[in-house]
Amino acid sequence: MAYSGLSLLSHALTGNKRWPAILSTPDMRSSYDIVIIGAGGHGLATAHYLAANHGITNIAVIESGWIGGGNTARNTTIVRSDYLLNSSFGLKNFALKLWSDLTQDLNFNLMYEPRGYVDLAHSDGELEHFTLRANAMRLRGGDADILTGQALQERVPELDFSGDKRFEISGALVQESGGVVRHDAVAWGFARKASTAGVHIFQNCPATGFETEGGKITAVQTPQGRIACKQAFISVAGASSAVAGMAGINLPLNSINVQAFVTEPVKPALDAVVNYNAGLSYISQTDKGEFVLGGATDGYSSFARRGSFERIEDVLARAVQMFPFLTRLRLMRHWSGTADIPMDGNAIVGRTPIEGLMINAGWGYAGFKATPAVGWCMAELLATGKTPDLIAPFALERFETGAEQDDGGIGPYPWLH
């Protein structure tokens, strides 16, 4: 059933009691062409584009928990493409184009709001580097502006420029097409469309092992039975090292805790996403009026999904530097996710040494924005066997060949990316 103004009205008349379930509940077959492991945004987008772009629907998506229960609905919903490297910019800018039409394509309100992403610089050197990044983006067709002084104050009126700050604001890189997308809707929108096209989605069904024959994938094991397949695709974010480990693949990444915070709701005060770079703290305001805040990782390996106070204090102290009025608000909710961060801080997307087994991992705390682009490209790889140019630089082999994609120039220290 298509969602429309008319369907809203007619269901309102029947007390909203007759909405059909979003997902069908099929019986599991003993074999599928493709098994996708992990029903986060990335796995579900891949299922959708396999059906929509390539007509392949003999697919099972298996999820150990519930749809969007991983990092997809734990993130702070920011989408943008302000990256320096061609590889990072290219994939995320393609995603930004897809985000703008996706609500219509999926017939599901993703609430993409290009309200602008404002990345603050705190020294002349940093602003110069931001200018380099902005110019690189513009040369490749992206939108980016450098704002300073009065122009920046007008763009973000609530931003505090006054007083003797430890880290003064020297300017900002602004990407107006950046913004926010309702994250749980992304998971459900892709799931609904894929399920309607005939893809089978199974929640509470973890992958527990892989079967191979002569270096080729033949089946995925689950507690509900063995699923034979021609290809399998691992897309499990925080569980990447564990699931890839079941196939004997040792991924070059560390898992690190990342936190997010939400304040009580107030009237609209901030219409952009603003990021503080002297240490990391970023903030946006939801349509309900709550402020959503996030920051750097907790800084050390962890699977605990439990945040450290150290980081809470750190993120909030920086947020107050930008917007002093925040001191009068209380935090209402706070949670963590396990971020899978590779040695160069960039994602691992494509083939594995096992034929027919593909992987998408290492998006850490920056992969939500790439969701539709990863789905689009992985669907193409699974359907045609050819690696699309946009994901080629993210191949697992790069750690052997020395072709790391280190956007921040930080080095092989995942907890610092």
Binding site: S241, A242, G245, N250, L251, P252, L253, N254, S255, G299, Y300, S301, S302, F303, A304, R306, S308, F309, E310, M343, F399, E400, G411, P412, Y413, P414, W415, L416
Partner: protein, 88 residues
């Protein structure tokens, strides 16, 4: 919040330390690329006890080796560095 037992200074707040990542031993120079790749890039173990390096930045300024459960954050052991140190 971690309370890290520094072998030199006693129990201290995590804020005093800088993380150095999983402890690792470097292979011999004549080993092939695969071995070096694994030594450099594949450091982390599955959830559970892991030995890692911490630097006591706001304390004795020494590298120490801590065994910590990455699933629960329980600290099982701490020592002066035992494995070959390779630090940022």
């Amino acid at each position: 919040m971690l309370l890290i037992p520094c072998p030199h200074c006693g129990l201290r707040d995590e804020g005093e330390f800088t993380y150095g990542g999983p402890a690792r031993t470097l292979p011999a120079l004549d080993q092939d690329t695969q071995v070096w790749r694994d030594a450099f890039f594949a450091g982390q173990k599955p959830p559970g006890p892991m030995t890692e390096l911490w630097y006591h930045t706001s304390g004795c300024e020494s590298w120490i080796e801590v065994t910590r459960d990455t699933a629960t954050h329980d600290i099982l052991n701490s020592n002066t560095p035992q494995s070959k140190v390779d630090t940022p």
